[in-house]
Amino acid sequence: MYEPWRVGVLFSQSGNTAVIEETQLRGTLLAIEEINGEGGVNDREVIPIIYDPASNCESFARLADRLLTEDGVSTVFGCYTSSSRKAVLPVFERRNGLLWYPTLYEGFEYSPNIIYTGAAPNQNSVELVDFLVKNYGTRFYLIGSDYIYPRESNRIIRELLRQRRGEVVGEHYLDLEARPSEFRLLMRDVANCSPNVIFSTVVGQATAFLYQAYAAAGFSSRFMPIASLTTSEAEVKLMGSDVACGHITAAPYFESVNTPGNASFVSRYKKRFGEDERTNLCVEAAYFQVRIFAKALAEANTMDPDILRPFVLGSEFDAPQGRITIDRDSSHTSLWTRLGRVNDRGEFEVIKESGQAVKPDPYLISH
C-alpha cells in the first residue's frame, strides 16, 4: 500500500453526551475498518486520528484546529451537539476543511465547509408534529436541555404548532448536567398543565432522567407520550425498556427498519462491538457518511476539499435506512422520514414512514 489517507475524528468519549457520541465513533470506525478491509481507497489505507473533546465546546474548537493545522488533515468526521458544531464551524471555514456532521439539528445553517448527514427539521419535526396533533391533541409541553439546539428546535415546533392551531402550554429548560430530582420536580408542573404531548429536546444522559421521572409520576404514554428527535436506541438502553415503552421518536433510521441493507449492517455492528450494542440514527449517519466520503475520494483521488467536495455533492448511496442523496444545493442530505414507537422489548416499531427520501429544506422555506 501507498501512503495512507489521514482523516480526523471528533466525538466525545467522556462527558454528558458521550452516551450517544461514542456510538457515532463506532459507526465511523466500522466504516473505516470495512473500507480498509476491502483494500482501502485507491489502494491506500484510511487512518483515523481520533481525539476526545469530552463534551466540551472549547475542546472541540481547539482539537478541530489542531487536526487542520498540526496534523494536516482536511476531512473530519465529528460533532453531535449544535453548540460544538457552531464552535468548530469558523475553524473549518477559515482553514478550508471539510466537516462531516452526522447528527440531526435545528437547521437554518449553510456552510460550504460542512456536509450535513443528519436530519433537518422538515425531515423529522414536521411529520412528528402532524402525527401528534392528529392522534393525541394540540397541547404541547416542551422540555429541553439548555443550549442552542433545544431552544432553536422549539422555536420551530412552536411555529409548526401555531400553523396547526395548537399551543405550547409549558416550556422548560434544564442544565445538561441536571439531576434526576430536577426532572421529578418538573413533573408536578406537567401534571398541572395537563398537556397532550411532552416534546423533549433533552439530550445525553439526562434523557434517561426525564423518562424515568415521567414513569415515576405515573403518567401513561398512551394518552400523553414523550415525543423526541434525539431519544434513540442508545438512550432507551440507558433508561430501560419498561420506562421507554410507548414513547415516540422521529428519525430517518431505527435499528428495526426493514430495508435490504439493514439486517447485515446491524449484525456487522454487533459482531464488531458486542451483541448488547445497538445501532441508532447517529450510528447510521456516522457510518454512511464515511462510505460516501470514500466513494468520492476514490473518484477525486485527493483530499483537497475544493476538488473532493464536487464529487460528494449529488452522490447517492444505499444506506441502511434506504437510498439517500447528498443534496447539491444545500450540502444537506435527502433522508427518509420515519416515526417509531418503543415496544416492550425496547425496540422502535416503525409506525409511519415516507415512501422515499425527503429533500432537505434546512431553512424551512416551504413549511
Binding site: E93, N96, P112, K359, I365, S366
Partner: protein, 195 residues
C-alpha cells in the same frame, strides 16, 4: 512547507515594469513551477484562467486592480512604492490580498504569495456562502407571497398551501422557489387582466 514550495497549479500574471523588482518576482515564480507572464503597461483586464496577479500599485494599474480585487477569483499581491503619495491612496482604495514594499526583499515574496492565495480563497468561499444565503432569502420571500395567494384564492390553510407548493416542486423536480415565483408571476398577470 517553507523551503521546498511548489505552485504548480498557479497561473500568474506579473504586471510590473521589468526592473530589478520585476526580475526578482519573475524568477521567484519560475523557481516555484508556476506559469507566469509579464504584462506591462497594465491591461484593464486579465484572462479568466489567471489565478494570481502581482501588480504594481500605480495609478496606471487602477482599472486592473479594481476589477481583480472585487471579483475575488484571482489572488492579488500588490507591490508598493511607499514614497509615492498617490500609490498609498490607491492602496487603501483597492486593498489587494497582500502587499510588499518596494524595493522587494526576496524573503518577503513567499509568505506574501501564500497569504494572498489563502485570503483570496477564503473570500471566495465566503462569497459563495453569501450568494447561497441571498438566494435562500429570495426564495423565502417568493414562497411567502405564493403561500398567501394560494390561501386566499383556494380558501386553504397554511400547511395545505405549503404542501401544494412542495408537491408541485417535487413533481416537476425544480426548487420550491421556482414554483413559488411562477405562482406569484401568474397571479400578477391575472390581476392585471382584471383591471
Amino acid at each position: 512547507m517553507i523551503g521546498k514550495v511548489s505552485f504548480a497549479d498557479m497561473r500568474a500574471v506579473v504586471s510590473h515594469p521589468r526592473d530589478a523588482d520585476g526580475e526578482l518576482i519573475i524568477r521567484f515564480f519560475q523557481r516555484s513551477e508556476a506559469l507566469v507572464q509579464f504584462i506591462w503597461p497594465p491591461p484593464d483586464k486579465i484572462d479568466k484562467h489567471i489565478n494570481f496577479l502581482v501588480c504594481l500599485v500605480d495609478p496606471a494599474a487602477r482599472a486592473l486592480l479594481e476589477t481583480t480585487t472585487t471579483e475575488s477569483a484571482v489572488a492579488v499581491m500588490g507591490i508598493l512604492d511607499p514614497a509615492r503619495q498617490e500609490s498609498l491612496r490607491l492602496l487603501s482604495e483597492v486593498t489587494p490580498h497582500s502587499v510588499i514594499m518596494s524595493p522587494v526583499a526576496p524573503a518577503a515574496l513567499l509568505p506574501n504569495v501564500v497569504v494572498a492565495k489563502h485570503n483570496a480563497k477564503f473570500q471566495q468561499r465566503l462569497n459563495v456562502k453569501i450568494s447561497k444565503l441571498e438566494e435562500t432569502l429570495r426564495s423565502y420571500r417568493k414562497v411567502e407571497q405564493a403561500k398567501a395567494i394560494l390561501m386566499r384564492q383556494r380558501q386553504i390553510d397554511e400547511p395545505e398551501a405549503y404542501n401544494f407548493l412542495r408537491e408541485q416542486a417535487m413533481r416537476r423536480r425544480v426548487p420550491v422557489g421556482v414554483i413559488a415565483s411562477a405562482v406569484v408571476d401568474l397571479n400578477e398577470v391575472l390581476s392585471d387582466e382584471k383591471k
